[in-house]
Symmetry: C2
Subunit: 234 residues, 2 copies
Amino acid sequence: MSEHTAKQFDSELDDLRAQVTRMGGLVEEQLQAALTAFVETDRDALDKVIARDKEVDHLEIEIDSACTGVIARRQPAAGDLRLVLGITKVVTDIERIGDEAKKIAKTTRNLLERGATQMLEAAQVRHMGSITQSMLHHALDAFVHADTAAAARLVRRDKEVDRAFRAIVRQMVTYMMEDPRTITTALDIIFIAKSVERIGDHCKNIAEDVIYIDKGHDVRHLGLKEFERKTEKL
Amino acid sequence: MSEHTAKQFDSELDDLRAQVTRMGGLVEEQLQAALTAFVETDRDALDKVIARDKEVDHLEIEIDSACTGVIARRQPAAGDLRLVLGITKVVTDIERIGDEAKKIAKTTRNLLERGATQMLEAAQVRHMGSITQSMLHHALDAFVHADTAAAARLVRRDKEVDRAFRAIVRQMVTYMMEDPRTITTALDIIFIAKSVERIGDHCKNIAEDVIYIDKGHDVRHLGLKEFERKTEKL
């Protein structure tokens, strides 16, 4: 590869990274807006989240196609190939997080239309939401800085979200037991919590991709013990 | 590329296809077993599904790494590159279907332990399950035969699953309203139905990947109208 070609290639990889960062930033905003709208029962903010999901979809297709282009033209090897292939995986997860944010917004909108403001305010979604927002932020940060140690810490946080999810389910079951008229609303809140839980899973996937991109280790599907063994030296 | 190299390359692509078929077949079995165990409340079959998920995980990592190897060594272009990149996406969805089958098995096992046989037998999961089993079968078939028309038909079937899901939720809400003691069980059955719904989504993703591999059109995230316009000539 000539020096000129190598420089062009580097700048293409930088462009790809920048596009992922842009997409990630947009999805962070979407999640933030959906969760804030839930907590503050803000109808207009919800409409905006639902409308903006198209932008996220569009970015996924654009970045994916740019990755295919880079592989076809540049035939990257080793770490560069891992980066490009890793990016195609990362953007899939970012897009799915965007999808879940849209679902949260849609379900919240339905709940507001049915006048469920009081239950929305009582639901313990705020805590669970802030855990996943922090996870998303750290996952994107780990990607940008190729920070494997931060990514490994993130993988270990997945259980926090599961615990928070179970707490919301218990809270909602209590409501349903006490007053069967709350059943439909409580179910919708559980579906919202389920979306938040999924977002945690996607953040974990992104963190695993960061480790793969940086170190070439595929650490998916490992039990926590095996994961610690494989990542302690990273 | 010499004739010898070209032949080797073709045989590598054939190997990849065969591995995907094997993985797909295994996940079909897993889903079949999980759903049958649900309907027939068969405890042993559930344990087997949960144990075999490791095999699915292992195949995903193996195929993914084979794809990276093929790209690095063969530097495929155009349709061949689309096939290899498409396979990395297809196996992610197949693995997630395996995950959902495992979740169905685990939740069903909990339900059996709590003695919820009667509600399991009454739940309308059978119908929803058979729709997604058929979708999975057709998605894998469309991949094997590069059958874009079949893949396009499949994308249109996604709504069927959503309808079946809503029917189960309504059925479970009725139970919960009538007898609050059924709430926890009904919730678990709704989570199982949610897993089945997700499987439908993954089948749709696989079908979209088949269209991408075969025609180079990225048809994800299109509304039904736009999808019809883009696929009517396939």
